[in-house]
Amino acid sequence: MGVKVTFVQADGVEKTFDDVATGQSLMEVGRFNNVEGIMGDCGGSCACATCHVYVTPEWQAAVGPADDIEVATLDMVSDLFKSNSRLCCQIQLREELNGIRVVVAPSL
């Protein structure tokens, strides 16, 4: 059973994908479906910050916080950083995230 995910692009356009397989990262969904602003240059190795999203408030608890290494990478784009910032390559899709909604951060 897949999950539903929604990206709100920086231009306001919403992209929703129903029935996405769990076990992959949110970055992979965005990148392979051409969500604008989700580049995923480093392939999910937490090294580039080109998969930066803001997690909508109602999903923050379920998603959880960034770890130290992710925080360090986010610190390199501190002008775009907000308290709900996450690198979405570090968000693995699982059942509890069914319906998740994130806003794509502006490009670097």
Binding site: M39, C42, G43, A72
Partner: protein, 439 residues
Amino acid sequence: MEAGQVEAAQKTGKCPMGHGSASLAGVSMTDPQVMAAPGPFYQALRKDSPVHYDAKLNMWLVSRYDDIVTVLRDPLTYSDKHGYAAQYASGFFEEFKQILERDGGGFFPDVIKDDPPAHTRVRRLMDKAFTAHRVATLEPQITALVNKLIDQLVAKAGDGQVVDGVNDFAIPLTIAVICEQLGFGQLSADKVKAWSQAVTAQIGRMQNREQMLANAAQICDLQNFIIAEMRAREAQPREDMVSDLVHAQTEDGKLEFGEAVSLVRAMIIAGNDTTASAIGNLIYVLATQPEVAKTLQESVDDDRLLNRFVEELLRIEPPVRALAKMTTKEVELGGQKLPEHAHVMVLYASGNDDETQFECPRNFDLNRTNLGKHVAFGVGVHRCIGASLSRMEIKVVAREVVRRLGDIKLAIPVDQITYAPTVAVRTIERLPITFTRRG
């Protein structure tokens, strides 16, 4: 510099540290003066001729940040594969290829330099090798290696010998790290250095036939070494990266043997000159810019500041100055029409110095809010695989050097510092230093 001063400098439109612009007339990127101090040349390019034809190189130099990102985000129009093939062993390609087929186990094109979708297929195998999280677990190992080399420096200096920050330290360190990762016993630094230079020369466009022959012999030696290591793991898998590649499955089946050879070769070469150059630059900066040395001393116990220090070092002194791509169709870039099959040289170093992106770009400023924007590791699908690993190496070196060595100074006049004669990587060749011992 104080925040107030920076603001004041920006308001008057003046930065305390500028390059001063140069004239472009009759000048080539390959001119020795430009190679040694490229800043003014880059600045003139950005200002007067952002997509500039360099007649001597027969290449279009792309110098503005935005144009660089445009190129790197469009890998099908600005192809690595075609750029690489056209550049490779320039002028002697057939002969070079025959030598490798005869004496080096085969001619193996660099699959990592292919274009999507072929590139995507192999790149996925490599992406997980050096994730930031995996590299974090290597910190103790890397710290031990760094300290072993610092011990050797201290001993050598104690004997009254001149110590070379590049050849006695930066190069052996990066080689030791990558050998450990790939699973090789320790290789001699001279050997790896010779291999690296031979491979890098193939894309540097600056070799004559005699040099090509010598380089081809080195590359044969390198490939024969790799093939023997791979064969050993075919018979008996081990816990290392070479073994992973030998037994790797892509989504569409197995990685071919020749592809795996080219990937191992790329890992040996791509990570060494680059990371060693960064470490050489670090020591050079510490020896010549007291205010940066002071900044580092003040940051050394704060992981966040130390990470920022490394990133700003890579921005201000990027090891890779330029790499080539080739247009696959007619296209307009930065107001300039480029024909199909145009050679395009991406000037990463100029992108990092672009004053429209980085305020007062010649200031070493840990507080930049957009540090992650720099292009020292590239951008887009070919962005560096080894970014986290090299960041870690540089960070550990910065920390341990400051803890253990004081008062680092050049042992030769600054104008005697020379750079390796290649367009691709800006590498200090020799860096004699003196220092005092701290711990």
